[in-house]
């Protein structure tokens, strides 16, 4: 049992007041270790809310530096941060919100060489990445080591998210493999309304906190999708697929795969 300080009781009073959370739930949050992959549009609100909630340890992995074009949606980075590594900028804001949070920064890309080692240090992983190769990598690595994660994706005015726990439907159950590079929306088509990243990120942060506190029902075996143009939300039931190449009964994938990123994303869009 953690001995809460007066300051902590005050800081977390709105959690503690919640019957479903209380002191016990807040303690679980404070003992939690979460890895946020990507300090971009989705990773920004996720990190801010998890820091404010008092998650004990937050790991952030992102190789990029802050670019002016990021500020339209990546709300953890400020104008003064342009040119600064995203993980450093994010760490500074997290510490400013909540000095109790321990922050691990990884200024690198998650790939097959580091994924398992990094992920195993955490209890829960949040996918805040912008590309399919890493989404599949997070999925496969988490399934391999039995870690729960929250998936998030956005496109223009749409968003989707689900939560995976060992044994429930994984990303590969729904999407067998990354789309062919030529089918990925071209750069000019692939914009996004900044607030949509916030919508998905805050849902993922809520799922993370629900996971640790055990409150309610997670988005497992469900894919939540929404269209912000009409503000229609829909939850599609999805099943674990027994023939899934990673989580099925006879998995055919026994190592992590670094898929090729579509050239457009790499060359023109990343900087």
């Amino acid at each position: 049992m953690i001995d809460f300080t007066e300051e902590q009781i005050q800081r977390y009073s709105r959690h503690i007041l919640l019957q479903d959370v209380g002191v016990e739930g807040q303690e679980k949050i404070m003992n939690a270790r979460v890895l946020v992959v990507g300090a971009g549009g989705i990773g920004a609100p996720v990190s801010l809310y998890l820091a404010a909630a008092g998650i004990g340890r937050i790991g952030i992995i992102d190789a990029d530096v802050v670019d002016l074009s990021n500020l339209q949606r990546q709300v953890i980075h400020f104008t003064k941060d342009v040119g600064v590594p995203k993980v450093k900028s994010a760490e500074e804001k997290i510490k400013a919100i909540n000095p109790d949070v321990k922050v691990d920064t990884y200024q690198e890309f998650l790939d097959s060489s580091n994924a398992l080692d990094i992920i195993k240090e955490y209890d829960f992983v949040v996918d805040g990445t912008d590309n399919f190769p890493v989404k599949f990598l997070i999925n496969d690595a988490c399934v391999m080591v039995g870690k729960p994660f929250s998936h998030g994706g956005i496109l223009r005015f749409n968003g989707q998210t689900f939560t995976h726990l060992p044994g429930t439907a994984c990303y590969r159950c729904m999407f067998k493999e990354p789309p062919p590079a030529g089918a990925v929306p071209t750069c000019s088509q692939a914009g996004v309304l900044g607030a949509i990243a916030g919508m998905i990120g805050t849902i993922q942060a809520a799922e993370t906190l629900k996971y640790f506190t055990g409150v309610g029902e997670l988005l497992t075996n469900k894919l939540l999708t929404f269209d912000a143009k009409t503000m229609q939300f829909r939850t599609v039931a999805v099943k674990h697929r027994d023939t899934c190449a990673i989580c099925g009964s006879h998995p055919t994938i026994d190592h992590l795969i670094d898929y090729e990123q579509a050239a457009c994303d790499l060359k023109q869009h990343r900087k």
């Binding site: 994706g153 956005i154 749409n158 062919p180 089918a183 949509i196 999708t225 599609v236 999805v238």
Partner: protein
């Protein structure tokens, strides 16, 4: 006439109709970017053309979504 529920909304269609034809009717712009569930079971894209729909079938189109752009 038959009713097929596409993403939860009823559509009147004429049978026989294959899953591929339904995808075409719904003007899915990039079939490569969609994953299809029929009555809550995923259907391999190679089987879309062989599957004949029945009255009352539920079809979900799930789209690949990345993260916008960095």
């Amino acid at each position: 006439m038959a009713n097929i529920y596409v993403n939860g909304e009823a559509q009147e269609v004429n049978l026989p109709l294959s899953l591929s034809e339904l995808i075409r009717l719904n003007k899915v712009v990039q079939p490569d970017m969609v994953s299809v569930q029929l009555n809550e079971e995923f259907v391999d894209r190679n089987d879309w053309k062989n599957i004949q729909l029945k009255d009352g079938d539920n079809v979900d189109f799930l789209y690949f979504m990345g993260g916008g752009s960095k």
